[in-house]
Symmetry: C2
Subunit: 337 residues, 2 copies
């Protein structure tokens, strides 16, 4: 889909952030053919270095001329940076894979999870959007079930880790936990309330309909990725005191009937999914077990008897990898395949 | 409903446990007319004392003759203790309010949440069951909505605190958190896996249908309390690293239409409920805010557009108080009203 080279110049925008760090790690882990790595960040990170293939690379300050000679630019520095610098990078000849929400719902921008809709990449015009973390892991797990029995309705509740907010939030969870365990008061900076030993039903801003942006991302992005503009979905997204990995309790209603065993077999045969589901041996996916891995893990598959054709699932993935960095690199791999 | 006296002899079985301690506190907080308090526990707790109305009382070892002269016995020492000693207490002339799962689904035993089905108390034969913590807070919140527009289906996912397991689990969460924050390994004893900075989709034992007992308690107890034996319900119950208070993401489908505003108004007018729902001011119920309080808190009320008549709710309550001790004492209050 792009001119194939033996090696590519890859820029990572937001190279010192939680996702940017992981992007560089994933490029290395997957032997992506990187000729030159260009780590970019804001002036705040000037003087920092990143590690890649055993060597340190200085972080450069993101400027309008940063993208000369860049083949692919992976962005994870927030929507405003993507809005300003995404088109600049495209103009300089790079393909942009953008992890922010800036372009996801733009009809001219493909929103891609390779296991689900790699075909959408063929229409790209330089910009490709990486979906929201909580959406990615859900659509990977639902795709084989939808292909088999057509999903009519999705009701999802998330358990999202603080790494989705960034490194500051990870430090805040650790620091607040320490403060509270030594009978101190928790200092609140990143979130509106204490996250340690608490659950916040509030991710991203609230919208007039009472939902958060995060909840509506799950609705709208899922519809776009699955190519089902009127799929019935409702979401409740919750931040929990977990460092890395998002978990999701997902209830689906389907047109055709699927037993739990049939669903497990379909999931096990699908790309990017690991089924961990053996209650008799206490086997189910856990956030702490999944950190640093690439698959979407599915367990607790149960028939929901409250509707004729229903299933409950528990879906866990590393939000920094499959939910962000890995999916972005997989998109780049598809492009240069 | 019972012979009214100026003061009652009240036994608390499991007086040194997380719920037993709270039962004694609630008796005091609500000025329950206690003539004599009889704190009972297993031989392990011999020599312990409890505090009541500013005085210490020695804990007595639970024996078959412990209930002579007892008017009401509040049990919270596990199902096997309730099965053995509940009938003994009734035979000795006490009314038993039992917080275990031992008698809840017995058709001869009323299962009561006073705000929902106080009328069921009139049929008691000495034994009254206190429902499961996660069920109580949900039915309190759903009752006024059901009375108004009839609930057809409930899909619930819980975020349950470790105090539901007991004091050992609270210590384990604190201790594991300390160990991990000092880069040690988490020692796992109470739960099958580390609970600190993790989410466990596993509460109580697994059943052959793939659900846990906790999940099926929510299904079966809700039906019994609401008097709707065929109400469609499905549940996913998850343990989270929170000390006290359970939160629940509840999706309901109703026969009649209810706007979010109408639902909030019905909830605000119902007994035992506090509506905390103003997203514009970041107002929603949080586990850490609700500790030690008596109400069931409801927020994040949203119309679910994925069905003609649907609502999403976020329901939080102190699982040791309304979810256990308070509800038991409220039952005793109803009996002696």
């Amino acid at each position: 889909m792009m001119k194939k080279k033996s090696a590519y110049t890859v820029a990572v925008v937001g190279a010192t952030g939680a996702v940017g760090t992981e992007m560089i790690q994933v490029l290395e882990d997957r032997d992506f053919p990187v000729g030159e790595l260009v780590p970019l960040a804001s002036a705040r990170s000037e003087g920092n270095e990143v590690m890649f293939q055993g060597q340190t690379r200085p972080v450069k300050v993101l400027e309008h001329d940063s993208f000369q000679g860049v083949d692919v630019a992976l962005f994870s520095a927030g929507a405003s940076v993507s809005k300003e610098f995404g088109p600049v990078a495209v103009k300089a000849g790079a393909v942009v894979v953008d992890n922010s929400s800036a372009w996801r719902m733009d009809p001219k921008v493909p929103l891609v999870v390779p296991e689900v809709n790699a075909h959408a990449l063929s229409e790209h015009q330089g910009l490709i959007a990486n979906p929201n973390c909580s959406t990615i892991q859900m659509v990977v797990a639902l795709k084989p079930l939808h292909d088999s029995v057509r999903i009519k309705r999705i009701i999802v509740t998330t358990f999202q880790s603080v790494s989705g907010t960034g490194k500051d939030a990870m430090e805040e969870l650790a620091e607040q936990s320490r403060q509270l365990l030594s009978f101190g008061e928790a200092k609140v900076e990143v979130y509106p309330y204490q996250i340690a030993f608490n659950c916040l039903p509030h991710i991203d801003d609230f919208l007039p309909n009472g939902y958060t942006k995060e909840e509506m991302k799950m609705v709208n992005e899922t519809r776009k990725i699955m190519g089902e503009p009127s799929l019935a979905i409702t979401a409740t997204t919750v931040r929990v005191p977990v460092f890395i990995c998002h978990a999701e309790s997902v209830n689906i209603e389907t047109e055709g009937k699927l037993s739990a065993n049939e669903a497990r077999a379909l999931l096990a045969a699908a790309p990017g999914i690991q089924v961990y589901d053996d209650p008799g041996h206490n086997l189910y996916p856990l956030p702490i077990d999944v950190v640093g891995t690439d698959a979407v893990y599915v367990g607790r598959v149960r028939e929901d008897e409250s509707v004729p054709n229903g299933l409950n699932l528990w879906i866990v993935a590393d939000n920094l990898r499959k939910g962000a960095a890995l999916n972005a690199v997989q998109i780049a791999e598809e492009l240069f395949r």
